[in-house]
Subunit: 315 residues, 2 copies
Amino acid sequence: MKVFSKAQIVASFNPALAVSRLEEGFIAYSEGAVQVPPVQAFAFTGANGDCCVKSAYIEGSPTFTVKLSTGFYDNPAKGLPSNDGLMLVLSALTGQPLALLQDQGWLTGMRTALAGRIAARLLAPDQVKAIGILGTGMQAQMQLEQLRAVTDCRQVVVWGRHESGLAAYATFARELGFEVRSTQDSAEVAGAANLIVCTTPSRQPLLHSEWVQPGTHITAVGADAPGKQELDPALVARADRIIVDSVAQCSQYGEVAHALDSGRIKANQLIELGALLAGRAKGREHDGQITLADLTGVAVQDTQVASCALAALGT
Amino acid sequence: MKVFSKAQIVASFNPALAVSRLEEGFIAYSEGAVQVPPVQAFAFTGANGDCCVKSAYIEGSPTFTVKLSTGFYDNPAKGLPSNDGLMLVLSALTGQPLALLQDQGWLTGMRTALAGRIAARLLAPDQVKAIGILGTGMQAQMQLEQLRAVTDCRQVVVWGRHESGLAAYATFARELGFEVRSTQDSAEVAGAANLIVCTTPSRQPLLHSEWVQPGTHITAVGADAPGKQELDPALVARADRIIVDSVAQCSQYGEVAHALDSGRIKANQLIELGALLAGRAKGREHDGQITLADLTGVAVQDTQVASCALAALGT
């Protein structure tokens, strides 16, 4: 079994290639051509941590992938990053473990950001006035980096709870070439931006329907487990198009779950990203529409990003 | 993350210590003190293979474990073993991966054999006339090795489909100090032995009720996935005590599942091994009773055997 470090993975990774592999993965998933066993989730309440194991096999592929990701939210006080993780790639022909990617959660962050990039390319309005980002962490950074490939807009409005996080994010975004406005009022993001990405582990809505302008596209990636929520269910209900990475998963714990549970939307309104990519469903039709991409993260993304990383590493 | 090879793991492993750790694990599991997310199972039909991912966390433990095991049954023709696998041990305090045990499935085999040893110690009749083994593979060997610790009997009757497998097993068993009788007729095993271990991936009953003598204990470890079956459901129904490693899992796909499905037994007859070990249930009461241990393999065994292996490796 070959073992690769995060530094090796990051140095060789090709995001553009990964976008096309992820698109193929989403399409295969929505066509039912992927084995995706149930997610394994642990809660370590005493340590304020969690772990999930996501595994997938695209039928006919020579490999399959098992991905572990952890989030331990008291780690920063111990001098450790909150997130960690790794991916294992095994042969689907002999069962042998082929590669261990010790990416420390970086590939999970990257595949999430690339899904946001794909959603924005398909759904963002033609004229992006400003990009709005909720959150100031690693995923908030990765999303902004990836959005540069799909819009010329270089205005960003970032929301965070803490001055220190906002200051660090502003420095990061300026170095990427953005004009930055920081705020602790999320209504301000909705007032200024018409391409908004929500990246927080919030358990209460941060973005209310009445704040959001017609024509806005929103990508929400934070609600990756039960109890998490970034959007007002009324905003979900107001969206003209509701795109999800997985109907099954988003119905359980995405933003969409809250709106379904309260009866504000119906399951038949949900469109999978794979169906949109395959041309089997309509996306944005005009600049007045509100579109939503609810991305909870599916294991087929891990499989695809892992094989993409291995290809770049010459394996 | 520390990485250990199969050779290192095998050389330092302490089966007696592992027995007590497994017993603690079974008890914790039956008391509901273990997080055991759903098993992830893949089927690779074209390659005649499967993979399962089993994960567990004993509440309060400093670590948790994710185990992968594969079975690719055409591998021997390619010069590869059928089974492979590995275990990952992570910190339950920070989420960091601590150790990779590249045991190639050996620890899974060992924890299964040790569960058989525990079941035989608790349930076998006082006077074992002969040990019966169905199957001639690695697990058939490991079970016999472990049974030496719980019975003085050194007579073994082994059943297999092929002469070559039987001959190799006879050589192995003689080297362990056994007198060996080989047969291709499983009725002969039931006629001679009153401690029988079934270790095959059979999909049809190999052992019929009318062949089995009063007083026999049977441990069945082969039915670890849907569709597998080694015992006649009438034999399961005839047992005076039905011990299972997991009521939930055995009800889905153990020997017990077939007897439950056909209405021959009721769920309230099932006794978990952990309850027996904790003294909360009765085992064998006299030498005329037939007892059955249906062991499908639970993730808490993997967690315990992994931490035991790491302790022996000085970690």
